[in-house]
Symmetry: C2
Subunit: 261 residues, 2 copies
DNA sequence: CTGGTTTCTTTATGCCGTAAAGTGCCGAGC
DNA sequence: GCTCGGCACTTTACGGCATAAAGAAACCAG
């Protein structure tokens, strides 16, 4: 038999997310778990071992239960992920002072959000397709809108700007998150990885420099930095983020100027 | 026994990607398959049924073989994906006229690249962590650099700009790809999805409009369009892409202007 | 005390990647 | 021309995954 996911499921999902009042006393044994505890355990698993290690078994084990015990509280894994996602978004700051205008506020927002993604990199692997519609997701959007409203841009344009900013921050974080994950999963650092591949590449593609002159040119330049500790790739990503963000903000400023003048 | 993935593996990967000369005559039965055929079959599976459906069994079946037959040609699934990735990148245009300057060329590049991602959405699910180092990946970068070099920007700044542009295009495509995937996997269109959730959301969060006034404000505005056929979400994504790209290009222009003046 | 509901466990199904071992083909060396 | 060994490919098997189905035990309302 096929159960069509519809009204019933949407109601269950949304009231889980917005945590309606708990039911009164019921028959049956006292619940040893709670939705909250399960979400926290799942977040802990994902934080510590990554999204790939997030299995119903792993979460159950962390709570001293079997995987199947979770299905009393949560209809399936996808919905558990939605709940994790919305809960963890609650860690984001909710307010940015606008005393010096939108630009410093937006810069701070971008930096904080990127840092958040790097703290919980699994969040980047949650599908962006259909918003989870949880309170913290809306709170995040509201925070960003409060800053961008200050630009005075038209609603339609603002939509596009929101998208561009979010995509930029997400993408920048994703590159680093992917790199860290690769280095953890394989046990090979980025430097080691490159030093074993680079000579082989030269050997297998001897005409590289003439075929790809600009790539060679770009590859020769290192990102400037005064920090020698953090690995090469992350220094570079940091620099790219700073430059890219400035370019993007310049673009917003230009758009604002044009829409006014 | 543990085999450390190092020199040997890197050499095999890279020479697969750059397709060194085939070996001479060998003992044993004639190969019924080829690396090329396997990569094509895998791409076909991913194009038709998505990355989630790409299994060694599925690829083997499409070629009339078992899953294990593939392991003669490819060491594992991850490397097959790398090969698919680099091969499919070959479909991207390699040259853009710069007669009218970099801006129209970059706009065309962004549109083509986004269209490419939507044609092969599984490409977006290939980790960005460590580049595959295949010829077509470099070709793609070279194409973008040829356009951006025209701005005359400093190498260091150019790095950041490349990142910002790539992230923006990727992210924009990802939103649509995710939406299409969700709608195919669940059999529920975006419109249906929203119409079942929207009333429940109002019910479960009755104070929504006062808690999230700006979100409500933004949600009220629809993206302008003259096209009534494509679904709502895609029309909106299209609009956001256009606006966002213009903002980003304005930013690059401003950066160029500043670096000159 | 009992019946029905609920929590949680057990068991089972059908996917996945891939290790290991087996089968038959075929070119190179005698 | 025969055999030996490497090669293409299949079969089988293992441990992992999400989750359906059914069972065991705890507990409240009557």
């Amino acid at each position: 038999m096929v159960v069509y996911a519809a009204q019933g499921d949407a109601r269950r999902s949304l009231s889980s997310l917005w945590r309606g009042p708990a039911d009164g006393s019921k028959p049956g044994p006292k619940p040893g778990l709670s939705l909250e505890a399960i979400i926290d355990a799942a977040i802990a698993v994902a934080d510590e071992h990554g999204m790939a290690a997030l299995s119903m078994r792993a979460v159950g084990e962390r709570l001293g239960r079997t995987a199947m015990a979770l299905y009393t509280y949560v209809p399936n894994k996808a919905e558990l992920i939605d709940l994790m996602y919305d809960k963890v978004l609650g860690e984001l700051p909710g307010d940015y002072p606008l005393d010096d205008g939108w630009r410093p506020a937006l810069t701070a927002w971008a930096r904080d959000t990127r840092a958040f993604y790097l703290w919980h990199p699994w969040v980047l692997q949650v599908s962006q397709a259909r918003p989870v519609l949880g309170p913290n997701e809306f709170r995040m959007l509201e925070t960003l809108l409060r800053i961008l409203k200050e630009t005075g841009l038209d609603v339609q344009v603002l939509r596009g700007v929101v998208g561009a900013v979010v995509q930029f921050v997400r993408g920048s974080a994703e590159v680093i998150a992917d790199a860290r994950r690769a280095s953890r999963d394989t046990g090979v650092s980025d430097e080691e990885w490159w030093y074993t591949r680079s000579p082989v590449l030269e050997e297998v593609a001897p005409d590289f420099a003439t075929r790809f002159p600009l790539t060679t040119w770009l590859g020769g330049a290192e990102a400037p930095t005064d920090d020698e500790c953090t690995p090469y790739l992350e220094r570079e990503a940091e620099w790219n983020f700073t430059v890219g963000l400035d370019v993007l903000l310049d673009g917003i400023e230009a758009t604002v100027a044009r829409s006014v003048g």
